[in-house]
Amino acid sequence: MATTSTSSTKTLDVESVRRDFPIFETGIAYLDSANTSQRPRQVTGAMQEYFEKYNANILRAAYGISETATERFEGAREKVKRFVNARSAKEIIFTSGTTESINLVAYSWGRANVRAGDLIVCTVMEHHSNLVPWQVLAAEKQARLEFVDVDQQGRLRQDQFQALLEQKPKLVAFNQISNTLGTVNPYREMTAAAGSAGAKVLIDGAQGAPHMGFDVQDAGCDFYAFSSHKMCGPTGVGVLWGRRELLEEMPPFMAGGEMIKVVRLEGTTYADLPHKFEAGTQPIAEVIGLGAAVDYLTGIGFDAIRAHEEQLTEYAYEALTEIEGLRIFGPPLGPDRAGVLSFDVAGIHPHDLSTILDRNGVCVRSGHNCTMPLMTRLDVAAVARASLYLYTTKTEVDRLVQGLKEAKRIFE
Protein backbone atom coordinates (compact mmCIF):
# COMPACT_ATOMS: atom_id res chain seq x y z
CA MET A 1 0.00 0.00 0.00
CA ALA A 2 1.16 3.47 -0.83
CA THR A 3 1.60 4.73 2.70
CA THR A 4 4.26 4.66 5.32
CA SER A 5 3.49 4.56 9.00
CA THR A 6 5.16 7.00 11.31
CA SER A 7 4.44 7.16 15.02
CA SER A 8 0.69 7.61 14.70
CA THR A 9 -0.25 9.22 11.40
CA LYS A 10 0.13 7.71 7.96
CA THR A 11 1.67 9.82 5.25
CA LEU A 12 1.09 9.37 1.60
CA ASP A 13 3.88 8.52 -0.83
CA VAL A 14 2.63 10.26 -3.94
CA GLU A 15 5.10 8.64 -6.34
CA SER A 16 4.01 5.23 -5.16
CA VAL A 17 0.34 6.22 -5.55
CA ARG A 18 0.97 7.47 -9.09
CA ARG A 19 2.37 4.11 -10.13
CA ASP A 20 -1.15 2.73 -9.61
CA PHE A 21 -2.49 5.10 -12.30
CA PRO A 22 -1.27 4.15 -15.79
CA ILE A 23 -2.64 7.38 -17.28
CA PHE A 24 0.17 9.40 -15.73
CA GLU A 25 2.60 7.65 -18.04
CA THR A 26 1.17 9.92 -20.78
CA GLY A 27 2.81 12.89 -19.11
CA ILE A 28 -0.30 15.02 -18.63
CA ALA A 29 -0.69 17.25 -15.60
CA TYR A 30 -4.20 16.35 -14.52
CA LEU A 31 -5.78 19.06 -12.40
CA ASP A 32 -9.45 18.31 -12.99
CA SER A 33 -10.30 15.65 -10.43
CA ALA A 34 -13.32 17.61 -9.17
CA ASN A 35 -14.73 16.94 -12.62
CA THR A 36 -13.79 13.29 -12.75
CA SER A 37 -10.91 11.48 -11.09
CA GLN A 38 -8.45 9.06 -12.61
CA ARG A 39 -8.77 5.34 -11.86
CA PRO A 40 -6.08 3.04 -10.52
CA ARG A 41 -5.28 -0.44 -11.80
CA GLN A 42 -6.92 -1.90 -8.69
CA VAL A 43 -10.27 -0.54 -9.93
CA THR A 44 -9.96 -1.30 -13.63
CA GLY A 45 -8.52 -4.71 -12.71
CA ALA A 46 -11.51 -5.60 -10.55
CA MET A 47 -13.85 -4.65 -13.38
CA GLN A 48 -11.83 -6.56 -15.94
CA GLU A 49 -11.86 -9.61 -13.70
CA TYR A 50 -15.65 -9.50 -13.64
CA PHE A 51 -15.85 -9.23 -17.43
CA GLU A 52 -13.35 -11.98 -18.03
CA LYS A 53 -13.93 -14.44 -15.20
CA TYR A 54 -17.51 -14.31 -13.93
CA ASN A 55 -19.58 -12.06 -16.19
CA ALA A 56 -23.24 -12.83 -15.47
CA ASN A 57 -26.34 -11.05 -14.28
CA ILE A 58 -26.96 -10.84 -10.56
CA LEU A 59 -29.79 -11.99 -8.30
CA ARG A 60 -31.46 -13.99 -11.06
CA ALA A 61 -29.71 -17.20 -11.92
CA ALA A 62 -28.71 -20.27 -9.95
CA TYR A 63 -25.37 -21.07 -11.46
CA GLY A 64 -21.86 -20.53 -10.27
CA ILE A 65 -20.70 -17.39 -12.00
CA SER A 66 -24.00 -15.60 -11.39
CA GLU A 67 -23.68 -16.42 -7.72
CA THR A 68 -20.12 -15.09 -7.73
CA ALA A 69 -21.29 -11.91 -9.45
CA THR A 70 -24.09 -11.44 -6.92
CA GLU A 71 -21.68 -12.04 -4.07
CA ARG A 72 -19.20 -9.43 -5.38
CA PHE A 73 -21.99 -6.96 -6.13
CA GLU A 74 -23.46 -7.24 -2.66
CA GLY A 75 -19.92 -7.29 -1.27
CA ALA A 76 -19.42 -3.84 -2.81
CA ARG A 77 -22.57 -2.70 -1.00
CA GLU A 78 -21.06 -3.88 2.28
CA LYS A 79 -17.89 -1.93 1.50
CA VAL A 80 -19.89 1.21 0.80
CA LYS A 81 -21.88 0.63 3.98
CA ARG A 82 -18.67 0.60 6.01
CA PHE A 83 -17.30 3.54 4.03
CA VAL A 84 -20.17 5.84 5.09
CA ASN A 85 -20.72 3.99 8.40
CA ALA A 86 -24.35 3.17 7.65
CA ARG A 87 -26.26 1.08 10.18
CA SER A 88 -27.35 -1.36 7.50
CA ALA A 89 -26.42 -2.27 3.93
CA LYS A 90 -30.13 -1.96 3.17
CA GLU A 91 -29.65 1.78 3.39
CA ILE A 92 -27.19 1.78 0.47
CA ILE A 93 -28.94 2.34 -2.87
CA PHE A 94 -26.90 2.14 -6.06
CA THR A 95 -27.84 4.80 -8.60
CA SER A 96 -26.24 6.12 -11.76
CA GLY A 97 -24.55 8.93 -9.82
CA THR A 98 -25.15 11.89 -7.52
CA THR A 99 -27.64 13.40 -9.97
CA GLU A 100 -29.86 10.33 -9.92
CA SER A 101 -29.45 9.97 -6.15
CA ILE A 102 -30.79 13.49 -5.59
CA ASN A 103 -33.52 13.08 -8.18
CA LEU A 104 -34.58 9.88 -6.45
CA VAL A 105 -35.12 11.82 -3.23
CA ALA A 106 -36.82 14.71 -5.03
CA TYR A 107 -39.21 12.49 -6.94
CA SER A 108 -39.89 9.79 -4.37
CA TRP A 109 -39.62 11.44 -0.96
CA GLY A 110 -40.37 14.92 -2.30
CA ARG A 111 -43.58 14.08 -4.13
CA ALA A 112 -44.89 12.13 -1.15
CA ASN A 113 -43.98 14.68 1.51
CA VAL A 114 -43.78 18.20 0.12
CA ARG A 115 -47.03 20.17 -0.08
CA ALA A 116 -48.07 23.57 -1.42
CA GLY A 117 -46.55 26.35 0.65
CA ASP A 118 -43.86 24.13 2.22
CA LEU A 119 -40.34 25.53 2.34
CA ILE A 120 -37.26 23.88 0.82
CA VAL A 121 -33.90 25.44 1.70
CA CYS A 122 -31.01 25.19 -0.74
CA THR A 123 -27.89 27.34 -1.24
CA VAL A 124 -26.46 29.53 -4.00
CA MET A 125 -23.28 27.41 -4.07
CA GLU A 126 -24.98 24.20 -5.17
CA HIS A 127 -24.12 22.25 -8.27
CA HIS A 128 -27.08 22.25 -10.67
CA SER A 129 -27.74 18.64 -9.70
CA ASN A 130 -28.60 19.73 -6.15
CA LEU A 131 -30.57 22.75 -7.27
CA VAL A 132 -32.61 22.04 -10.40
CA PRO A 133 -34.37 18.95 -8.91
CA TRP A 134 -35.64 21.19 -6.09
CA GLN A 135 -36.81 23.82 -8.58
CA VAL A 136 -38.73 21.11 -10.42
CA LEU A 137 -40.26 19.79 -7.20
CA ALA A 138 -41.11 23.27 -5.89
CA ALA A 139 -42.80 24.20 -9.17
CA GLU A 140 -44.80 20.99 -9.22
CA LYS A 141 -45.94 21.31 -5.62
CA GLN A 142 -46.15 25.11 -5.42
CA ALA A 143 -43.64 24.87 -2.62
CA ARG A 144 -41.27 27.70 -1.71
CA LEU A 145 -37.57 27.43 -2.47
CA GLU A 146 -35.10 29.71 -0.66
CA PHE A 147 -31.35 29.93 -1.13
CA VAL A 148 -28.73 30.62 1.50
CA ASP A 149 -26.25 33.17 0.19
CA VAL A 150 -22.44 33.12 0.53
CA ASP A 151 -20.32 35.78 2.21
CA GLN A 152 -17.34 37.56 0.67
CA GLN A 153 -15.06 34.60 1.43
CA GLY A 154 -17.37 32.04 -0.10
CA ARG A 155 -18.79 30.63 3.11
CA LEU A 156 -22.50 30.03 3.62
CA ARG A 157 -24.24 32.82 5.50
CA GLN A 158 -25.12 30.96 8.67
CA ASP A 159 -27.20 33.88 9.94
CA GLN A 160 -29.44 33.54 6.89
CA PHE A 161 -29.56 29.80 7.30
CA GLN A 162 -30.71 30.14 10.92
CA ALA A 163 -33.36 32.67 9.91
CA LEU A 164 -34.70 30.30 7.25
CA LEU A 165 -34.81 27.45 9.76
CA GLU A 166 -37.18 29.52 11.88
CA GLN A 167 -39.67 29.17 9.04
CA LYS A 168 -39.65 25.40 9.60
CA PRO A 169 -38.52 24.06 6.22
CA LYS A 170 -39.46 20.55 5.13
CA LEU A 171 -36.06 19.90 3.61
CA VAL A 172 -32.59 21.41 3.65
CA ALA A 173 -30.17 20.48 0.84
CA PHE A 174 -26.53 21.56 0.64
CA ASN A 175 -23.12 20.21 -0.28
CA GLN A 176 -20.33 18.88 1.91
CA ILE A 177 -17.74 20.67 -0.24
CA SER A 178 -18.48 23.26 -2.93
CA ASN A 179 -17.29 22.14 -6.38
CA THR A 180 -16.47 25.75 -7.32
CA LEU A 181 -15.44 27.53 -4.11
CA GLY A 182 -13.77 24.61 -2.37
CA THR A 183 -15.61 25.54 0.83
CA VAL A 184 -15.94 22.71 3.33
CA ASN A 185 -19.34 23.38 4.85
CA PRO A 186 -19.94 22.94 8.61
CA TYR A 187 -22.35 20.13 7.89
CA ARG A 188 -22.55 18.72 11.41
CA GLU A 189 -23.67 22.05 12.87
CA MET A 190 -26.01 22.75 9.96
CA THR A 191 -27.56 19.29 10.15
CA ALA A 192 -28.08 19.52 13.90
CA ALA A 193 -29.74 22.93 13.58
CA ALA A 194 -31.93 21.77 10.69
CA GLY A 195 -32.90 18.63 12.58
CA SER A 196 -33.95 20.69 15.60
CA ALA A 197 -36.13 22.75 13.29
CA GLY A 198 -37.82 19.57 12.08
CA ALA A 199 -36.31 19.56 8.59
CA LYS A 200 -34.95 16.57 6.73
CA VAL A 201 -31.38 17.08 5.52
CA LEU A 202 -29.82 15.96 2.24
CA ILE A 203 -26.08 16.38 1.82
CA ASP A 204 -24.49 16.31 -1.62
CA GLY A 205 -21.22 14.49 -1.05
CA ALA A 206 -20.00 14.42 -4.66
CA GLN A 207 -16.95 16.51 -3.76
CA GLY A 208 -16.75 15.50 -0.11
CA ALA A 209 -16.80 11.70 -0.18
CA PRO A 210 -13.71 11.35 -2.42
CA HIS A 211 -11.52 13.59 -0.27
CA MET A 212 -12.73 13.32 3.31
CA GLY A 213 -15.02 10.31 3.40
CA PHE A 214 -18.21 10.63 5.39
CA ASP A 215 -19.88 9.18 8.47
CA VAL A 216 -23.66 9.33 8.10
CA GLN A 217 -24.29 8.52 11.75
CA ASP A 218 -21.89 11.15 12.99
CA ALA A 219 -23.29 13.72 10.53
CA GLY A 220 -26.85 13.01 11.55
CA CYS A 221 -28.32 13.76 8.12
CA ASP A 222 -31.18 11.93 6.40
CA PHE A 223 -29.81 11.48 2.88
CA TYR A 224 -26.29 11.45 1.51
CA ALA A 225 -25.52 11.31 -2.22
CA PHE A 226 -22.21 10.76 -4.00
CA SER A 227 -20.65 9.49 -7.22
CA SER A 228 -18.12 6.77 -7.92
CA HIS A 229 -16.27 8.52 -10.72
CA LYS A 230 -14.95 11.35 -8.57
CA MET A 231 -13.43 8.90 -6.07
CA CYS A 232 -11.28 6.73 -8.35
CA GLY A 233 -14.18 4.51 -9.35
CA PRO A 234 -15.84 4.18 -12.77
CA THR A 235 -18.52 6.45 -14.23
CA GLY A 236 -22.13 5.34 -14.36
CA VAL A 237 -22.60 4.47 -10.70
CA GLY A 238 -23.27 6.41 -7.55
CA VAL A 239 -24.84 5.98 -4.16
CA LEU A 240 -27.79 7.24 -2.23
CA TRP A 241 -27.65 6.56 1.46
CA GLY A 242 -30.95 7.17 3.21
CA ARG A 243 -32.19 6.67 6.73
CA ARG A 244 -33.92 3.32 6.72
CA GLU A 245 -37.24 4.51 8.17
CA LEU A 246 -37.50 7.06 5.37
CA LEU A 247 -36.51 4.67 2.60
CA GLU A 248 -39.04 2.08 3.85
CA GLU A 249 -41.87 4.58 3.53
CA MET A 250 -40.81 6.06 0.21
CA PRO A 251 -42.53 4.90 -2.98
CA PRO A 252 -40.34 3.44 -5.75
CA PHE A 253 -38.63 5.91 -8.07
CA MET A 254 -38.31 3.73 -11.15
CA ALA A 255 -40.37 0.65 -11.81
CA GLY A 256 -39.45 -2.53 -13.64
CA GLY A 257 -37.44 -5.65 -13.08
CA GLU A 258 -35.55 -6.37 -9.88
CA MET A 259 -37.53 -3.88 -7.78
CA ILE A 260 -40.51 -6.22 -7.40
CA LYS A 261 -41.59 -9.01 -5.08
CA VAL A 262 -44.68 -10.31 -6.89
CA VAL A 263 -46.17 -8.94 -10.11
CA ARG A 264 -49.73 -9.72 -11.08
CA LEU A 265 -51.83 -7.95 -13.66
CA GLU A 266 -53.96 -6.61 -10.81
CA GLY A 267 -50.99 -5.10 -9.01
CA THR A 268 -47.46 -5.48 -7.76
CA THR A 269 -45.72 -5.73 -4.43
CA TYR A 270 -42.30 -4.18 -4.27
CA ALA A 271 -39.02 -5.69 -3.28
CA ASP A 272 -37.51 -4.94 0.13
CA LEU A 273 -34.70 -2.44 0.55
CA PRO A 274 -32.39 -1.79 -1.14
CA HIS A 275 -33.70 -3.47 -4.29
CA LYS A 276 -36.96 -1.50 -4.22
CA PHE A 277 -34.93 1.41 -5.60
CA GLU A 278 -32.76 -0.55 -8.02
CA ALA A 279 -34.97 -1.24 -11.04
CA GLY A 280 -33.51 -2.96 -14.07
CA THR A 281 -30.17 -4.63 -14.62
CA GLN A 282 -27.59 -2.90 -12.50
CA PRO A 283 -24.19 -1.60 -13.63
CA ILE A 284 -22.54 -4.67 -12.15
CA ALA A 285 -18.94 -4.08 -13.24
CA GLU A 286 -19.18 -0.46 -12.15
CA VAL A 287 -20.50 -1.34 -8.71
CA ILE A 288 -17.68 -3.84 -8.30
CA GLY A 289 -15.28 -1.14 -9.46
CA LEU A 290 -16.70 1.27 -6.89
CA GLY A 291 -16.13 -1.35 -4.21
CA ALA A 292 -12.51 -1.62 -5.32
CA ALA A 293 -12.19 2.19 -5.23
CA VAL A 294 -13.50 2.25 -1.65
CA ASP A 295 -10.90 -0.39 -0.73
CA TYR A 296 -8.20 1.60 -2.47
CA LEU A 297 -8.98 4.90 -0.75
CA THR A 298 -9.58 3.46 2.70
CA GLY A 299 -6.40 1.42 2.34
CA ILE A 300 -4.43 4.62 1.89
CA GLY A 301 -6.53 6.31 4.54
CA PHE A 302 -8.46 9.56 4.46
CA ASP A 303 -6.21 11.19 7.05
CA ALA A 304 -3.25 10.67 4.74
CA ILE A 305 -5.24 11.79 1.67
CA ARG A 306 -6.50 14.92 3.38
CA ALA A 307 -3.04 15.76 4.75
CA HIS A 308 -1.51 15.41 1.28
CA GLU A 309 -4.23 17.57 -0.26
CA GLU A 310 -3.92 20.22 2.43
CA GLN A 311 -0.21 20.49 1.89
CA LEU A 312 -0.67 20.73 -1.86
CA THR A 313 -3.57 23.16 -1.62
CA GLU A 314 -1.38 25.46 0.43
CA TYR A 315 1.42 25.16 -2.12
CA ALA A 316 -0.93 25.85 -5.06
CA TYR A 317 -2.81 28.64 -3.29
CA GLU A 318 0.39 30.49 -2.50
CA ALA A 319 1.86 29.99 -5.96
CA LEU A 320 -1.33 31.19 -7.66
CA THR A 321 -1.62 34.19 -5.35
CA GLU A 322 1.77 35.38 -6.55
CA ILE A 323 0.50 35.73 -10.12
CA GLU A 324 -0.48 39.33 -10.69
CA GLY A 325 -4.09 39.84 -11.68
CA LEU A 326 -5.09 36.36 -10.54
CA ARG A 327 -8.00 36.14 -8.15
CA ILE A 328 -8.93 32.95 -6.26
CA PHE A 329 -12.56 32.44 -5.25
CA GLY A 330 -13.61 30.82 -2.00
CA PRO A 331 -12.22 30.71 1.53
CA PRO A 332 -8.57 31.45 2.37
CA LEU A 333 -6.30 28.61 3.45
CA GLY A 334 -7.59 26.86 6.52
CA PRO A 335 -9.47 23.82 7.74
CA ASP A 336 -12.59 24.70 5.72
CA ARG A 337 -10.74 25.06 2.39
CA ALA A 338 -10.54 22.04 0.07
CA GLY A 339 -8.26 21.47 -2.92
CA VAL A 340 -10.64 23.03 -5.42
CA LEU A 341 -9.15 26.31 -6.64
CA SER A 342 -11.34 28.39 -8.92
CA PHE A 343 -9.77 31.56 -10.21
CA ASP A 344 -9.71 34.12 -12.96
CA VAL A 345 -6.96 36.27 -14.43
CA ALA A 346 -7.61 39.90 -15.32
CA GLY A 347 -7.90 40.36 -19.07
CA ILE A 348 -7.84 36.66 -20.01
CA HIS A 349 -10.98 34.63 -20.36
CA PRO A 350 -10.95 31.24 -18.55
CA HIS A 351 -11.51 29.44 -21.85
CA ASP A 352 -8.38 31.00 -23.26
CA LEU A 353 -6.47 30.07 -20.11
CA SER A 354 -7.54 26.45 -20.40
CA THR A 355 -6.69 26.35 -24.12
CA ILE A 356 -3.18 27.61 -23.44
CA LEU A 357 -2.79 25.25 -20.47
CA ASP A 358 -4.04 22.36 -22.59
CA ARG A 359 -1.37 23.11 -25.17
CA ASN A 360 1.12 22.67 -22.34
CA GLY A 361 -0.42 19.36 -21.27
CA VAL A 362 -2.19 20.81 -18.24
CA CYS A 363 -5.85 19.83 -17.79
CA VAL A 364 -8.08 22.29 -15.91
CA ARG A 365 -11.78 22.99 -16.08
CA SER A 366 -13.06 26.29 -17.42
CA GLY A 367 -16.63 27.51 -17.48
CA HIS A 368 -19.39 27.72 -14.90
CA ASN A 369 -18.70 24.33 -13.31
CA CYS A 370 -22.45 23.60 -13.34
CA THR A 371 -22.90 26.39 -10.81
CA MET A 372 -24.44 29.15 -12.92
CA PRO A 373 -26.29 30.84 -10.03
CA LEU A 374 -22.99 31.05 -8.17
CA MET A 375 -21.32 32.60 -11.24
CA THR A 376 -24.06 35.25 -11.23
CA ARG A 377 -23.55 35.78 -7.51
CA LEU A 378 -19.78 36.21 -7.99
CA ASP A 379 -20.48 38.44 -11.00
CA VAL A 380 -18.32 36.44 -13.39
CA ALA A 381 -19.25 34.65 -16.62
CA ALA A 382 -16.89 31.79 -15.99
CA VAL A 383 -13.89 30.69 -13.94
CA ALA A 384 -10.91 28.43 -14.43
CA ARG A 385 -10.62 25.64 -11.88
CA ALA A 386 -7.69 23.52 -10.79
CA SER A 387 -8.60 20.65 -8.49
CA LEU A 388 -6.25 18.36 -6.60
CA TYR A 389 -6.38 14.78 -5.42
CA LEU A 390 -4.28 12.13 -3.73
CA TYR A 391 -2.11 11.66 -6.83
CA THR A 392 -1.43 15.34 -7.54
CA THR A 393 2.17 16.52 -7.32
CA LYS A 394 3.89 19.85 -6.79
CA THR A 395 5.37 19.44 -10.26
CA GLU A 396 1.88 19.46 -11.73
CA VAL A 397 1.08 22.63 -9.81
CA ASP A 398 4.34 24.16 -11.08
CA ARG A 399 3.30 23.34 -14.64
CA LEU A 400 -0.03 25.08 -14.03
CA VAL A 401 1.74 28.19 -12.77
CA GLN A 402 4.15 28.13 -15.70
CA GLY A 403 1.26 27.81 -18.17
CA LEU A 404 -0.57 30.71 -16.55
CA LYS A 405 2.54 32.85 -16.82
CA GLU A 406 2.78 31.99 -20.49
CA ALA A 407 -0.88 32.94 -20.97
CA LYS A 408 -0.17 36.30 -19.35
CA ARG A 409 2.80 36.82 -21.65
CA ILE A 410 0.71 36.07 -24.75
CA PHE A 411 -2.17 38.28 -23.67
CA GLU A 412 -0.27 41.15 -22.15
Binding site: H349, P350, H351, D352, T355, N360, M375
Partner: protein, 132 residues
Amino acid sequence: MAADEQFYREYILDHYKNPRNFGRIEAADITHEEYNPLCGDMVGMDFRVRDGVIEDVKFHGRGCAISQASASLLTERLKGMTLDEAQQVGKDDVLEELGIDISPARLKCALLSLKVLKVGAYGLAAEEEDEQ
Protein backbone atom coordinates in the same frame (compact mmCIF):
# COMPACT_ATOMS: atom_id res chain seq x y z
CA MET B 1 7.10 29.86 -32.41
CA ALA B 2 5.40 28.17 -29.49
CA ALA B 3 2.16 26.29 -30.07
CA ASP B 4 0.18 28.92 -28.18
CA GLU B 5 1.41 31.73 -30.32
CA GLN B 6 0.31 29.93 -33.45
CA PHE B 7 -3.12 29.65 -31.94
CA TYR B 8 -3.40 33.08 -30.39
CA ARG B 9 -2.08 34.86 -33.46
CA GLU B 10 -1.44 38.53 -33.25
CA TYR B 11 -4.47 39.58 -35.29
CA ILE B 12 -6.75 37.47 -33.08
CA LEU B 13 -5.38 39.11 -29.96
CA ASP B 14 -5.62 42.48 -31.69
CA HIS B 15 -9.30 41.97 -32.46
CA TYR B 16 -9.84 40.75 -28.89
CA LYS B 17 -8.11 43.71 -27.27
CA ASN B 18 -9.25 46.31 -29.80
CA PRO B 19 -12.55 45.00 -31.06
CA ARG B 20 -13.86 46.68 -34.21
CA ASN B 21 -17.45 47.88 -34.28
CA PHE B 22 -17.87 47.27 -30.57
CA GLY B 23 -20.86 48.98 -28.99
CA ARG B 24 -24.55 49.55 -29.55
CA ILE B 25 -26.58 51.15 -32.33
CA GLU B 26 -29.48 53.23 -31.12
CA ALA B 27 -32.82 52.40 -32.74
CA ALA B 28 -31.30 49.49 -34.61
CA ASP B 29 -33.40 47.64 -37.19
CA ILE B 30 -32.27 44.25 -35.94
CA THR B 31 -31.00 43.40 -32.46
CA HIS B 32 -30.21 39.91 -31.28
CA GLU B 33 -28.18 38.16 -28.56
CA GLU B 34 -27.04 34.57 -28.17
CA TYR B 35 -25.44 32.72 -25.27
CA ASN B 36 -22.97 29.88 -25.26
CA PRO B 37 -24.62 27.49 -22.81
CA LEU B 38 -21.28 25.85 -22.02
CA CYS B 39 -19.76 28.94 -20.50
CA GLY B 40 -22.40 31.65 -20.38
CA ASP B 41 -20.52 33.82 -22.86
CA MET B 42 -22.69 36.24 -24.82
CA VAL B 43 -22.52 38.01 -28.15
CA GLY B 44 -25.15 40.49 -29.27
CA MET B 45 -25.39 42.41 -32.54
CA ASP B 46 -27.25 45.52 -33.69
CA PHE B 47 -27.84 46.15 -37.39
CA ARG B 48 -28.93 49.28 -39.23
CA VAL B 49 -30.33 48.27 -42.61
CA ARG B 50 -31.20 50.65 -45.50
CA ASP B 51 -32.63 49.33 -48.76
CA GLY B 52 -31.54 45.82 -47.96
CA VAL B 53 -27.95 46.89 -47.25
CA ILE B 54 -26.24 46.56 -43.86
CA GLU B 55 -25.27 50.19 -43.35
CA ASP B 56 -23.92 49.69 -39.87
CA VAL B 57 -23.36 46.78 -37.50
CA LYS B 58 -22.01 46.71 -33.96
CA PHE B 59 -21.51 43.93 -31.48
CA HIS B 60 -21.46 43.74 -27.69
CA GLY B 61 -21.03 41.04 -25.11
CA ARG B 62 -18.41 39.22 -23.15
CA GLY B 63 -16.41 36.13 -23.78
CA CYS B 64 -13.12 34.54 -24.69
CA ALA B 65 -10.61 35.79 -27.27
CA ILE B 66 -11.99 33.42 -29.88
CA SER B 67 -15.65 34.44 -29.58
CA GLN B 68 -14.87 38.16 -29.37
CA ALA B 69 -12.30 38.20 -32.19
CA SER B 70 -14.65 36.16 -34.34
CA ALA B 71 -17.46 38.67 -33.71
CA SER B 72 -15.15 41.58 -34.48
CA LEU B 73 -14.01 40.01 -37.75
CA LEU B 74 -17.59 39.19 -38.72
CA THR B 75 -18.80 42.76 -38.26
CA GLU B 76 -16.02 44.00 -40.55
CA ARG B 77 -17.09 41.53 -43.19
CA LEU B 78 -20.80 42.32 -42.93
CA LYS B 79 -20.67 46.08 -43.17
CA GLY B 80 -21.86 47.15 -46.59
CA MET B 81 -23.17 43.75 -47.58
CA THR B 82 -26.76 43.25 -48.69
CA LEU B 83 -28.82 41.03 -46.41
CA ASP B 84 -28.87 38.48 -49.21
CA GLU B 85 -25.09 38.44 -49.35
CA ALA B 86 -24.87 38.25 -45.57
CA GLN B 87 -27.12 35.23 -45.59
CA GLN B 88 -24.53 33.40 -47.66
CA VAL B 89 -21.83 33.86 -45.00
CA GLY B 90 -21.29 30.46 -43.45
CA LYS B 91 -19.32 28.48 -40.94
CA ASP B 92 -16.42 27.89 -43.33
CA ASP B 93 -16.05 31.61 -44.06
CA VAL B 94 -15.85 32.42 -40.37
CA LEU B 95 -13.33 29.67 -39.63
CA GLU B 96 -11.25 30.60 -42.65
CA GLU B 97 -11.14 34.20 -41.56
CA LEU B 98 -10.04 33.19 -38.05
CA GLY B 99 -7.32 31.17 -39.75
CA ILE B 100 -6.51 28.93 -36.80
CA ASP B 101 -7.10 25.33 -35.95
CA ILE B 102 -10.22 25.32 -33.77
CA SER B 103 -10.71 22.30 -31.53
CA PRO B 104 -14.24 20.88 -31.22
CA ALA B 105 -14.48 22.25 -27.68
CA ARG B 106 -13.94 25.79 -28.94
CA LEU B 107 -16.08 25.62 -32.10
CA LYS B 108 -19.10 27.07 -30.31
CA CYS B 109 -16.98 30.06 -29.27
CA ALA B 110 -15.85 30.68 -32.83
CA LEU B 111 -19.35 30.41 -34.29
CA LEU B 112 -21.34 32.29 -31.64
CA SER B 113 -21.45 35.54 -33.60
CA LEU B 114 -22.48 33.74 -36.78
CA LYS B 115 -25.36 32.26 -34.81
CA VAL B 116 -26.38 35.77 -33.76
CA LEU B 117 -26.44 36.80 -37.42
CA LYS B 118 -28.37 33.76 -38.61
CA VAL B 119 -30.93 33.68 -35.83
CA GLY B 120 -31.28 37.46 -35.51
CA ALA B 121 -31.31 38.48 -39.14
CA TYR B 122 -32.93 35.46 -40.73
CA GLY B 123 -35.08 34.13 -37.93
CA LEU B 124 -33.57 30.70 -38.15
CA ALA B 125 -34.47 28.71 -35.08
CA ALA B 126 -31.52 28.52 -32.72
CA GLU B 127 -31.84 24.73 -32.65
CA GLU B 128 -31.65 24.60 -36.43
CA GLU B 129 -28.47 26.62 -36.38
CA ASP B 130 -26.98 24.32 -33.72
CA GLU B 131 -27.62 21.31 -35.91
CA GLN B 132 -25.90 22.93 -38.84
